[in-house]
Amino acid sequence: MAFDPLALSAIAGMALATFILRMGGVWMAGRKASSPFLRTSMRHAPGAILVAMLAPVVLAGGLPTIAAAGATVLVSRRTGNLPVAIVAGVVAFAALDSVLP
């Protein structure tokens, strides 16, 4: 099997960069700002970050993704059951993706 030192260095570079980002974040978790404004903003973090993560992806997927996202959210709200909501979303996506252009 090929053993390419440059490739291994590149993998090490990626691994190190990624771990530093992960570690930096966890390190920051313990050092929350004392300012009330920043502390309140942290309360909004999970929702805001998830919306930011999902909105461009859902929009880019077009009508099937948008509709399936709506179905997932609706079922999750109605049932409060994660696996049920996920299955509903995936089934909706599979169905819509084969029907819609």
């Binding site: 993998i11 980002l21 404004f37 973090a45 929702g47 696996p83």
Partner: protein, 240 residues
């Protein structure tokens, strides 16, 4: 990985329990097929792109960040552009900073080894699926780590099987599988909705800023900037 026995450490907070690890594992069951499926495709693409088996395995085990691994596939020519792939990893994984910072404060009080473990197993899925428990005040790093370990194993095994069977595998995902991880994240997000103007404003701002930034900036900066904008808008709407 050996879960430590909390009864041997008489300190007050049970901050990484076996029960938490098990709970994390079970939370991850919902997304594991999607992650393994993505790993399968990744492994097969690595083989097609003339990435060696060792390299593909090392990337999934050491980098363990799918989006960035997919992103550098196109760049993986010989000689491998060391600086470019490292910069791409930094750009694509920048969101981990904000996600880590948003973890509960007690993560900072964990013993260093457990903080390192938490960081290593921090990924989109483990962070999102454990977020609900952490909002409800469960102080147990095991939930994040357990979810992360299950996702990690799915990803690594998927990569190995995909690489090994690339010749016989038709690269075509099962219908709907592409939507499995987004669906899990959406289902978690829906549970966070508290209604009213103070809930709508941060989400609307986060969404609009992220969509705009996704067109303008490389990597995952749209998550960082959209998330940060939403957080600040939320605090502003709360009138702090």
């Amino acid at each position: 990985m050996e879960p430590s026995n909390p009864s041997t450490t008489p300190t007050s907070e049970a901050i990484m329990s076996r029960a938490g690890l098990v709970r994390g594992f079970r939370l991850a069951a919902a997304v594991a097929p999607g992650v393994a499926g993505a790993g399968l495709i990744y492994g097969a693409l690595c083989r097609a792109a003339a990435v060696s088996g060792t390299e593909a395995a090392l990337k999934s085990v050491l980098v363990a960040a799918g989006t960035s691994q997919f992103a550098v596939l196109e760049l993986w020519t010989r000689p491998v552009p060391l600086l470019s792939v490292t910069v791409v990893a930094l750009l694509v994984n920048a969101r981990y900073i904000l996600m880590g910072a948003a973890l509960p404060t007690w993560f900072g009080k964990l013993p260093p080894s457990r903080r390192w473990l938490s960081a290593y197993f921090l990924c989109d899925e483990s962070w999102a699926l454990s977020a609900r428990d952490y909002r409800e005040g469960r102080a147990d790093a095991g939930i994040l780590i357990g979810t992360g370990v299950a996702v990690y194993i799915s990803w690594a095994l998927g990569t190995a099987v995909g690489y090994g069977s690339a010749g016989s595998l038709r690269i075509e995902s099962a219908p709907g599988l592409d939507f499995l991880v987004p669906a899990a994240l959406l289902a978690v997000l829906a549970g966070f909705w508290s209604g009213g103007r103070t809930a709508l404003i941060p989400w609307a701002v986060a969404g609009v800023v992220a969509i705009a930034c996704a067109h303008l900036l490389p990597g995952s900066w749209y998550v960082v900037l959209g998330g940060a904008a939403g957080m600040l808008a939320g605090a502003n709407a709360d009138g702090v």
